[in-house]
Amino acid sequence: MRSDIIRTYKAVHTWTGITTGLLLFVAFYAGALTMFKAPLLRWAEPAVLAPAPAVLSGDQLIARTLAQRPETAKEFTLHLEGPLRLSWQKTRRDDSPFIAAPDADGSIAIGQTRSAGLDWLVDVIHRTGGLPLDVETGTMVTGLAAGLYTVALVSGLIILLPSLIKDLFALRLGHNLKRLWLDAHNLVGLFSLPFHLVMALSAVVFGWHDLLYDSLNEAVYKGQMRTVMRASNPPAPFAGDKSTAVPLGVDVLLAHVAVVAPGFRPTSLQYRDFGTKAATVRVSGEDPRYLVRGHGFLLLGAVSGSVIGTEYLPGQQGVWASVVSSFFALHFGSFGGDTVRWGYFALGLAGAFLFYSGNLLWIESRRRRQRGGDECPGQSRSSRTMAALTVGICLGCVAGLSAAIVAARWLQGVFIDVNGWSRGIYYIIFVLALFIALRHGAARAAAPLLGLAALCTAAIPLSSLLLWRSAVPGIDVVAACGAVVLAVLARKTAARAAHGPADSVWSAAHNAKKV
């Protein structure tokens, strides 16, 4: 390929990469953790989520809750996983829904959730890239970054193509450390390219689907997009009919589901307009044999048990819906069970490494070297700032997430809004790390911050040891391994800052006082 094209795309790769790398690091690290958000939640609040002996049936729970809170009939969800409970929200975006669960004597306890919502927290940080924004705005920013990141992926591939065969399997361990980092960056980037393209393009869609739909509505659908959408979701029979009608029992409904969709494992039933002729129930569940969006569902009439819609039921979707579902599944890793979950976890961490190494390469290619007996040149301001931001943001995110996980466990039952507390602790650690890095420079801050990240992560298995209980020992094992890796890196980094070459942004000797 012509050298001027390569040069142009090197510039494109540098700019798109350096502007989005840090946000994407956070999104990928938190995203890797979301693969295990259900076990994380079980780990943090074993008492809340342990299945309790069933004192009431689902039908009894619904009847008794509605007797106390008749307004709930409009919309509520019966959960079949974990302890039997009903939940409902005041609004769609309500973060702490109401929960009704039977006490041991069969009376109903109603309260706002005290759940740490650790799954929610990790997910929010993933979607917003750790920016302190509401989820919708944050997802738009992440979507914009994902657009630039797509361009970074294509340009990276174009740069690599001419020397692909020569460079691909080369991992040149020599004195040239920059070459080694570049080889590692290329290797990880190329082998996880399909994963990264899927993530980048789907994140663009998640952030900007409203803009895309609005534009298509004007340009393609002649303003009739809503009609087309509505035609894809057939209305329930008797919609709007408020006359009283008794719905089928939970067991009967589940028997209907088993006939329509054998192999589908229902996890929750969302009722609408309960007690009226128009009542519907949306049976959500899982079927690991298919590519589905996290959860698939079947829509039934609650009174007759008739099937209203199977467009989101795994294996019974139309062609178009199943293609789109596969995009969601490829982003969420919601197929193939644990094997895929571990694979996505590894690919997510590898992605975080890709962005981290990209920043290191940026800094290294701007390095001012010491020549002969000259005085050691200081590194440029932009290199020092970028190094400090990289260290502060990446390590702040790692330490902050570990601290939030530990906090969720210890604050369980202490505060009602454990959610807010865990998120607050994430940001306190994150901002602290960023402050230390900017104040003292990357060289001085890196080792202590790695130590902090190791400590916070080690606190996960230590908590389980102290409480002498762990609902998910696997989490403790993985966290212990992570803590050891971080501790080793902390030692090596400290040695480099003290004894490494002085003409480097990572040397404590020459950069300490200049940031």
């Binding site: 797509t150 361009v151 900007w208 895309l212 534009s215 894809s232």
Partner: protein, 91 residues
């Protein structure tokens, strides 16, 4: 080869977007199932992102900003004429 950062970037972002809309629209109307196929609109929306970003990514291959605008603009004119014709013919 000229760099023309602003001109090429804008060509990719703006003309690339309108081209992606028109191509997705052509597939919506003339592709299998026609415009009203159940839930096809979702895939059409998903199609726009890769088409658009392909344009943004590859626009820097053009020798100059003028070339980028000329080619993408020409492709836009063709695609939009085809879309308008298909839309009025099938709609």
């Amino acid at each position: 080869m000229k760099t023309d950062w602003w001109s090429k970037s804008l060509a990719g972002i703006v003309a690339g977007f309108t081209l992606a809309l028109a191509l997705a629209g052509l597939f919506a109307w003339a592709g299998p199932g026609g415009i009203n196929a159940v839930n096809k609109y979702q895939l059409i929306m998903w199609m726009v992102a890769p088409l658009w970003l392909s344009a943004v990514s590859l626009v820097f291959l053009f020798p100059s900003g003028c070339h980028a605008w000329a080619w993408l603009g020409g492709a836009n004119v063709c695609a939009w004429i085809a879309l308008v014709l298909t839309r009025s013919w099938l709609g």
